[in-house]
Each structure stands twice: as structure tokens, then as C-alpha cells.
């Protein structure tokens, strides 16, 4: 289902739903009243598109010339130009059957047709091929099978309804009509689509471009046995790689170093960068660090060294500032981050993050620096799996960086916060008053000043461990040390024996 004008509507249906008489574009509420057992999931057209693209790429095994052809929901197609390819698979029948089988194996409902023109194949696959389980193949004549197809098969979208209103149901009905009047009444598109289907007009498939691989490799007649010589080779391959990247204005985000051992084993080292990088010295340095720490087994030697950029993004050169200010160039920081990450690991280098919550340990924390979309998991124990409700889904969106106007309303918080609140034994004068003294980690603290309570209700929309309110107190001990305590549970309403926890200091 998806949300459009008029609320949530059905986006695509599976076979069972179609059999139950539901149709695309129906309101979800109507559909549910017709079919109470209906299960709906929200649609994600962007994901569908990516999947189709991947499928089209996978079809590259039958033809180098493939393109995704997104259509109505549930009617996406893939176009293949199999000119000259059939011979390799033992004929067109076998090629089509093999393609169909491979796609159906993935769990899709698929139909296929092969025809001399793109337009005819498109129409046949959608309207005539449903009767043929192993695909429909037209080799020579075009006009006969085309004339038998309904007008929708011409790739004209809603114009087909107009044609039907005039009683023109088959493509053959259009055949006898003068072109000039067709074009005048229904537009040039109809005529050109008709010509394309008949093969009178050229139509070119714009195929998926093969991905460019950025890589550099060096072979050696004598195997390398020393780590230093491998590092030297990495420097040379990095130079070549960066020249390639430079020519296309790309920067490297993820790189792989393949070391081919003489005995056929491949050693793989990979790393990511915080910002697109194109500096050979930097890349060499990162890999040298990796090589030092990886303790690789060189064995009888390495005879091929290959450096590959497995992920790249656009990287334009940028203008340096004219005035000298006390700032650090952004790429210097990115390089520092890379070096730290390579040596210490991904999880050890973190940045501040916050999210929409008023529970202190959830509201802000530190998240891994690399991996821009990663959701914040400030402390173990509070993390949870993505839920089904709308709010929970929103909860799992990437956390924005700490900016914005919220700074004005930030509440008073202690400088240090414990990952897990720790139980303390507190003595209070009245059940919902501040503690007069407390014992935390076997040390008694006498409270001389206190502020509070700041009552934080649990977030009822999340299922959580302790659905009780917390009353936070900021206290100062006799010595002037500051702590942040809370009492869990409202006295009388939620519990009769409230527990105290220390949650932060200073």
C-alpha cells in the first residue's frame, strides 16, 4: 500500500489478493472490509527500482545489452537485446526458456517474449505470453501478431482508454486508419509507437552502463617476500589508482587490497575512508598500517598485488581559503579519522548524536563516526529491534548531528552519565522528597543541597524494561560533589517501595 491523495491505497497485489477481487488503487479501508484477512505492507518504489536494476544487471549473462523497464506496479520489465546471443545458448527457444527459469527461480512471476522489434516484444510479453509458460517467440512476421494484440500493448498508457472509447480495441483496428488523422486526434506519440512496434521506426535500447572498475595491479616474476617491498608496491599501485580516479573526478570511499600468494591463496585487506580520498600517500599510509597489524602470512611470497576501489564517490577539488584563520582543513580531519579508525577500529571513534526522546540515556549519546546512516545506540540494553508502529519506525531513522535551535531548551544535565543507572540506598525525609543521604558503591554521601524533582514519564509508545516514572534530583554532597539521582516509580501510584538509582555525576 502507499499513501496518495485520498489516503492509503493499494499499490500492488499478489495473486491471492487479485483472485479475491481486489484491484490496484483501491482504498485500503475498502479492501479490508471486502477481505478482512488482508495483510498490507507499505510500498517502497525506490527499493523496487533498485531491485529491478540489479535484476537487469544479472540478466547480463544472456546479453550484454540489458535495461530495466519500470512500468506500473507489478508490471516492471527488463529489456534484453539478444541479437547475436542466441547462438551461444543453442537457439532462441533455449535462451528464452533459460532466462525465464532463472528469473522464476528467484520467486518472481515472469513472462517472456522475443520478437524482431522492441515494441512488439513488450506487448507480447505482457498480453500474449501469459498463455505460454516457456516464452513466446516470433521470428519473422511482425504485423500479424501485432494486429492481434490489444491497444494497451502499444506502450501508450492512458491513451488506450481513449482508443477503446472509439471502439478501437485491437492494434489491427488501427491498421486501416489514415496516419494523419490518427496523429491529429491522438497525438504524434501513438503513431510513433505504432511505427516502432512495426519496425518502421528505429528504436534504440539505452543499456545499463557497465560499472567502471578502478583498479591497479602489479605482477612480479619473482615473488615478494618482504613486507617492506609489498608496501612499496602498494605505493606504486596507489599512484596508478589515484591517477585513474583523478581522471574521472572520483574519490575513494572503500578500497580493497588483494595479495595473490604464489600458492594461489588470496589475502584480502579492505578499509573505508571517512571522506572521499584521492591522495596516494594517504592511501599507502592506511594500508601500511593495516599490513603491520594484520600479521599476514606471506608464505612462499606474493606475486600479484592488486588495489581496487570498491566504492567511489564524486570528489571535486576545492578552493582553499585566502585568509588565514584558525581552522583545520576538512580533509586533514578526515585523514586523522581514517588513521584512527584503521588502528583502533570502527567502534572506537565516535561522534555525538541525539534523537527525539526525553529519556536521558536515549536522548543523546555517541555513535560510530563512519557509516553516515547508522542509527544511534547509545547504551546496550536500551537498543531494540525496529518495530511495526509508525512512531517506532521514525525512531529508527538516522540521527541528525547535534545542531539546531534545540540548544536553547536543553535541560540541565550532568557532565558524565552512567551507561546503566546504578542502584543506591537512599534515605529521604518524605517518600517523594529529595534524598538526605545515599550510599553508592559502598560510600555514604550526605546531601546538603538538592534540586528537583524533574519528573520524566516513561515513553509509553515503546515497550521497555521499566515502564515507571523517574523523579530526578540534582544533589550536592557536603564536600560539594554533584550527583544525579532518580527515584523510580511514583510513591503510592506505581509502587510502595521506590528504588533509587545514581545516573550521573557532576
Amino acid at each position: 500500500m502507499h499513501t496518495t491523495t485520498g489516503g492509503e491505497r493499494l499499490y500492488a497485489l499478489n495473486a491471492a489478493a487479485s483472485a479475491a477481487g481486489l484491484r490496484r488503487g483501491q482504498a485500503v479501508a475498502d479492501a479490508k472490509s471486502l477481505e478482512p484477512g488482508l495483510q498490507v505492507e507499505s510500498a517502497s518504489p525506490a527499493l523496487d527500482k533498485r531491485l529491478l536494476q540489479a535484476l537487469a544487471r544479472a540478466c547480463g549473462r544472456w546479453s550484454p545489452w540489458t535495461a530495466p523497464d519500470p512500468g506500473l506496479p507489478g508490471e516492471d520489465g527488463i529489456l534484453l537485446d539478444i541479437t547475436g546471443c542466441a547462438r551461444l545458448f543453442g537457439g532462441e527457444e533455449k535462451l528464452v526458456a533459460a532466462t525465464l527459469e532463472a528469473v522464476r527461480e528467484q520467486g518472481y512471476i515472469a513472462y517472456a517474449a522475443a520478437a524482431p522489434t522492441l515494441g512488439l516484444a513488450w506487448g507480447l510479453a505482457r498480453y500474449a505470453a501469459r498463455r505460454e509458460s516457456s516464452g513466446l517467440i516470433i521470428t519473422d512476421t511482425v504485423s500479424e501478431p501485432l494486429n492481434a494484440l490489444p491497444v494497451e500493448a502499444l506502450r501508450i498508457g492512458p491513451m488506450a482508454d481513449q482508443l477503446r472509447r472509439f471502439g478501437l480495441k485491437r492494434v489491427g483496428d488501427l491498421a486501416g486508419l489514415p496516419r494523419a488523422s490518427l496523429a491529429r486526434r491522438f497525438g504524434r506519440e501513438l503513431v510513433s509507437r505504432l511505427d516502432q512496434a512495426r519496425g518502421l521506426d528505429e528504436e534504440v535500447l539505452s543499456p545499463l552502463q557497465p560499472r567502471t572498475h578502478y583498479r591497479a595491479r602489479l605482477r612480479f616474476p619473482e615473488a615478494l617476500l618482504l613486507l617492506d617491498s609489498i608496501k612499496q608496491t602498494v605505493r606504486e599501485t596507489a599512484n596508478t589508482l589515484c591517477e585513474q580516479l583523478d581522471a574521472h573526478g572520483r574519490g575513494l570511499r572503500r578500497a580493497e587490497l588483494n595479495l595473490y600468494r604464489v600458492d594461489g591463496k588470496i589475502l584480502l585487506l579492505s578499509l573505508g575512508t571517512a571522506a572521499p580520498a584521492r591522495d596516494p600517500a594517504h592511501i599507502t599510509r592506511l594500508f601500511s598500517e593495516k599490513l603491520d597489524r594484520a600479521e599476514i602470512d606471506i608464505g612462499f611470497g606474493i606475486d600479484v598485488v592488486e588495489l581496487r576501489a570498491s566504492e567511489t564517490t564524486a570528489l571535486n577539488t576545492h578552493q582553499s581559503g585566502l585568509l588565514d584563520s584558525d581552522e583545520m582543513a576538512p580533509d586533514t580531519m578526515a585523514r586523522l579519522t581514517d588513521r584512527l579508525v584503521v588502528r583502533l577500529g570502527d567502534d572506537q571513534v565516535q561522534r555525538a548524536a541525539r534523537r527525539e526522546s526525553h529519556i536521558p540515556e536515549r536522548a543523546a549519546g555517541w555513535r560510530q563516526n563512519s557509516g553516515p546512516g547508522s542509527a544511534i545506540v547509545p547504551h546496550a540494553g536500551t537498543a531494540r529491534a525496529p518495530g511495526g508502529t509508525a512512531l517506532a519506525v521514525r525512531d529508527n531513522t538516522p540521527v541528525p548531528a547535534l545542531t539546531g535551535p534545540e540548544s536553547e531548551v536543553d535541560p540541565d544535565r550532568p557532565l558524565l552519565i552512567l551507561a546503566r543507572p546504578e542502584p543506591a540506598q537512599a534515605v529521604a525525609e518524605i517518600p517523594d522528597g529529595p534524598p538526605r543521604s545515599f550510599i553508592w558503591r559502598r560510600v555514604r554521601h550526605l546531601v546538603h543541597r538538592a534540586e528537583g524533582p524533574e519528573r520524566l514519564a516513561p515513553e509509553w509508545w515503546r515497550d521497555q524494561l521499566s515502564p515507571r516514572s523517574r523523579d530526578y534530583f540534582r544533589v550536592e554532597t557536603r564536600e560539594g560533589r554533584r550527583f544525579w539521582l532518580y527515584r523510580e516509580g511514583l510513591f503510592g501510584l506505581e509502587t510502595t517501595s521506590p528504588e533509587w538509582f545514581v545516573h550521573g555525576a557532576s
Partner: protein, 270 residues
């Protein structure tokens, strides 16, 4: 002075040695600054000291339980220096997992803002090994970032290690603040070492919870335990309006014992 000293035996070698040191570390042998007097324009001196110069400085808690207070003072000193230098450089905060200050939890981004540190500029680095800590600190300083470090009681952090950090910080005009342990600390090459303990704040009767007075601005006792070219001193400081203020006794208590006319009371505080 040089000619006079050269005449004495052994002096030329010393001069050569000095020249060599100057080549290696320019500015390592400055003419000693006049030690900041205890008397005189007290507030002026104090401002000079609390606004730390670029280089390495150390903070130690007085007691184990003062560790959060020491970290708070460290954060405050840092943000004050950041503001004075109008520095837009990133901040690298290096912590040890399992360190003493870790006992009290992790820095809380929302609170950092209250202590004057912009959290979006901080890169928090957690290491398990002290060698990694020292390496990360030096890398950060060499890249030009400012450093908040927590090292704790660690014998690997010695004169050599601290000298390296200090020189890296000074070369880039950066500030490096290191939190050390409350118990015995080895000597180091830091410019200053502060020992911090919490002090009761001035009570505010109208803000407190039921039955107790409220808390005023956080107060600390900062003992300048070690300073290059100066005597140690004590300060009572208060964090208020995003700056440290020195709490001083009234001018009457500090006046000289002569009959000079009293100077106009100018209380400029940092």
C-alpha cells in the same frame, strides 16, 4: 653575559648544548618569565593563568571521588581557551576504556554544551591500550586538533611521552589538557598541573527541593600545584555564565600593612 660566561671553564660546551637544544626545540629555553606574584593585581594574574597557553597542561583530582569535578574543570578550562583563541579547530577527546574516569560514565553531549564545548566538533576516541591512547593523542595534535585527554595513573605516560605531546601541541598552537589520577603522579613535561577538588556551592534557598536549599553555580578549589617558572597557588573558582570566576576575599583582607591610600577596588574577573 655570554662573553663573561665563556671565560669560565666548561661554559662553551654548555652554550653549544643550548644552541643544539634551541635547534631541536625552538622556544624550549626562553628567558624565564617573572613569576606571577601572589600580591599585586591578583585578578590580572589569575586571568593569565586560567586562560591556559597553548601546550600541555594537566588536571588531577584531589581524591578519587573528585574525578567528575576534575573533568568538569578540565572541560571548563578547555572551552574558555577555545573561546579566547576563537579556534574553529576540531576537538579530539581520547579516553581509556576501563579508566578511572570511566567509572563515572561517559560524557553527555547535551551537558557538554552547558560547559561550553560544542559537541558537534568533538571526535571521541576510546582506546583500550595506553600505547594506543598516546599514539591517538599525538596523531590528533600533529593534525592540528585540540586535545582533551584522560590518561589516569599510567606509568607509560612519563617525561618523554608528555614532552612529545607538549611539543606537538606547541608546534601547532593547540591546547592539550590531560586528566591524570588522584594518587601519586610521575613528573611530566606539562606547563602546569592543577589539582581539583569540589567545594560546596553557595546555597540558593529558593531553588531547592523540599526541605533542602538549592545549588548555586558549581565551585571548585583549584590548586596550581606545579607551574613552570612560578610558585604554586590556590584558587577558589566558580563556573558561572560559561566562564570560571575566581572567588577572592574582600580587598580589605589582602591590603598591605602600610598606610597607603587604598587603591580603587577594581574587581575584574576572568
Amino acid at each position: 653575559m655570554r662573553s663573561a660566561s665563556s671565560r669560565r671553564k666548561g661554559r662553551p660546551q654548555l652554550d653549544q648544548l643550548r644552541a643544539k637544544i634551541r635547534d631541536i626545540a625552538p622556544g624550549a629555553l626562553p628567558a624565564m618569565p617573572a613569576p606571577p606574584g601572589v600580591q599585586g593585581q591578583a585578578s590580572g594574574e589569575v586571568r593569565e593563568l586560567i586562560n591556559l597557553q597553548s601546550g600541555l597542561h594537566e588536571i588531577c583530582p584531589q581524591d578519587y571521588l573528585d574525578t567528575p569535578s576534575a573533568l568538569a574543570v578540565q572541560t571548563g578550562f578547555f572551552s574558555q581557551a577555545l573561546r579566547r583563541h576563537e579556534s574553529a579547530r576540531p576537538i579530539v577527546w581520547v579516553r581509556r576504556t576501563g579508566g578511572r574516569s570511566q567509572d563515572f560514565g561517559q560524557p553527555y553531549p547535551l551537558a557538554l554544551k552547558q560547559w561550553g564545548l560544542p559537541p558537534e566538533r568533538i571526535l571521541l576516541v576510546e582506546t583500550s591500550e595506553v600505547t594506543d591512547s598516546l599514539w591517538a593523542m599525538e596523531e590528533a595534535l600533529n593534525s592540528g586538533a585540540w586535545l582533551m585527554g584522560e590518561i589516569g595513573a599510567e606509568h607509560r605516560y612519563d617525561l618523554t611521552a608528555s614532552k612529545r605531546l607538549h611539543m606537538a601541541a606547541q608546534a601547532r598552537g593547540a591546547l592539550a589538557l590531560i586528566l591524570r589520577s588522584h594518587d601519586r603522579v610521575q613528573p611530566s613535561a606539562a606547563l602546569t598541573r592543577w589539582r581539583i577538588s569540589a567545594r560546596p556551592s553557595l546555597a540558593e534557598a529558593w531553588r531547592g527541593a523540599t526541605g533542602l536549599p538549592g545549588m548555586g553555580a558549581p565551585c571548585f578549589r583549584a590548586q596550581l600545584e606545579r607551574v613552570r617558572g612560578g610558585p604554586p597557588r590556590n584558587f577558589d573558582i566558580e563556573w558561572k555564565h560559561a566562564a570560571f570566576h575566581v572567588l577572592e576575599p574582600a580587598p580589605l583582607a589582602n591590603r598591605p600593612a602600610t598606610d597607603l591610600p587604598p587603591a580603587p577596588a577594581q574587581r575584574q574577573i576572568a
